[in-house]
Amino acid sequence: MSNILEIKGLSAGYGPLRVIHDLDLIIQSGERVGIVGLNGHGKTTLFYAIAGLTHWQRGSIKISGKEIGRTRSQGPGRYTHIVVKEGLAIMPQGDEIFHGLTVEEHLDSGAFTSESWKNRKQKREEILEIFEPLKKLIHTPVGRLSGGERRMVSIGRGMMSEAKLYMADEPTLGLAPKIGKGVLEALLKIDLKDSAMIIAEQNVALLEGKVDRIIGMHAGKLKGEASSSLSMGLKN
């Protein structure tokens, strides 16, 4: 058991707006963590902060012991690819897909380490096993897929590389409940081994009992993980 993600005293935001307040989080290998919270309480911003996509951040973020946090303001996305290469697999919210690539190419684009690029065929097979409906669509441009299929492709893209940390941002958002459940189940099927996974979700019921622990997020702070009876008492 080693610490995959170690966040200490992280604050992040956009301009004068501070979204994440002094947040501490440790995630160990093999863990599957759910982060629940309402819209606008900083779930996506937490992911963005890890990926270096916020406007500014303070504090330390370590991925397997390597410091990737930056204590200065940053151009959005300027350093993201460097951070991602440390072993992040981000499955972003919304339509962050490449419309013109086919499903096959799209999956390949997720394989950013040279090793996973070499094994991409085999990986692709594995992912297609999980997402059955994509098998028929392998040569279709992603732009033509429906919302659920797009989400599958986007999650599959994240699964292509041997990441240390998978981060899925609201995988069920905007999907019909049935499809959403299917997508979530696929996420839970990923064999973690030495890596870890964070799933952000608005709907607690979907994650309950399926992940190792659930952390609440409220107004930029983590709640509920602190096991004191006080906050547990307050939760209900």
Partner: protein, 294 residues
């Protein structure tokens, strides 16, 4: 009849050279969102690189040609470092990028003028002086060489874009730069690849054109304007469109020269472009451009 075929071959020869620049403009625009108007400078830079290589290193024509390509790559990377990398995340990037590349071509042209003087230089013939006769038409080795080498270059680039990992990265970045950074594709690094490849294409066209015409500090200007207008007609961002447009304009050039006279070439050309653009505002293959609607 003979005349027309001869002219058409001429047209294709010209089209293949300008087509290279057009494809370069197209790729840069779609991959980086940069309207690179410094290809004129890169063109002259590559030409002088080839000329210097011929003078000082080794005079073998094919070697000179490759040196031209190498110089084009260097020029492309230079423009990328000077303009694209500092500017790409600033607001109003498109206008900034365009004016920045114009400034580069202004400075670069003047520096070339300072170092080499206004006198025109000539490169050696790369493909010898052989002639082939097919169906009453004499083809010089020169023309065959130009057409073949530019087609070869295009094929290599397209193939590379289609199948290699870098190509995949470039195409991914064309479509959604933000998502690309999320999957670990760096804008800057990809920018350098793109500019190097397009620089190589410009370098080849510079070497090919300078052997038939001549080389001067500002000789890249006309090819660039032609290349840009071909790219425009084909629809910025589409390689296929650029190739089709290059062929159409090549024919147009040949036919206009034949029936109206050489000085009407530009006029018919622009009339053609304007008509195409008014009918299809995004050029011949404009639909593909939807990927980058920023």
């Amino acid at each position: 009849m003979n005349d027309i075929i001869f002219l058409i071959i001429n047209g294709i020869t010209v089209a293949s050279i300008y087509g290279l620049i057009a494809v370069a403009v197209s790729i840069t625009w779609s991959a980086l969102g940069l309207l690179n108007l410094s290809y004129g400078f890169i063109f002259s830079f590559a030409g002088y690189g080839a000329w210097l290589a011929e003078r000082h290193i080794y005079g073998e024509p094919i070697f000179v040609m490759f040196m031209g390509i190498a110089a084009g790559i260097i020029g492309g990377i230079m423009v990328c470092l000077i303009v694209f990398i500092p500017v790409h995340d600033k607001p109003n990037f498109t206008i900034r990028g365009m004016i920045g590349t114009l400034a580069v071509s202004l400075i670069g042209g003047q520096i070339l003028l300072q170092n080499f003087g206004p006198k025109a230089k000539l490169l050696p013939e790369f493909f010898g002086y052989g002639k082939i006769k097919i169906l009453d038409v004499t083809l010089t080795a020169d023309k065959i060489g130009i057409i073949c080498s530019s087609i070869l270059m295009l094929t290599i680039v397209v193939k590379w874009m289609k199948s290699s990992r870098r190509g995949l990265e470039i195409r991914a970045m064309m479509m959604n730069p933000h998502a690309a950074s999320i999957v670990g594709i760096g804008v800057r690094k990809t920018g350098i690849y793109v500019m190097a490849v397009t620089g190589a294409m410009t370098g080849l066209s510079a070497a090919l054109l300078s052997q038939t015409y001549y080389l001067s500090p500002f000789s890249g200007l006309t090819p660039m304007i032609k290349g840009v207008s071909i790219a425009l007609m084909g629809g910025l961002g589409s390689v296929r469109g650029a190739v089709i447009a290059a062929i159409i304009l090549g024919f147009n050039e040949a036919l206009t020269t034949k029936f109206l006279g050489g000085r009407y070439v530009l006029m018919t050309q622009f009339a053609l472009i304007i008509i195409v653009l008014i009918i299809r505002p995004r050029g011949i293959a404009g639909i593909l451009d939807k990927a980058r609607e920023a």
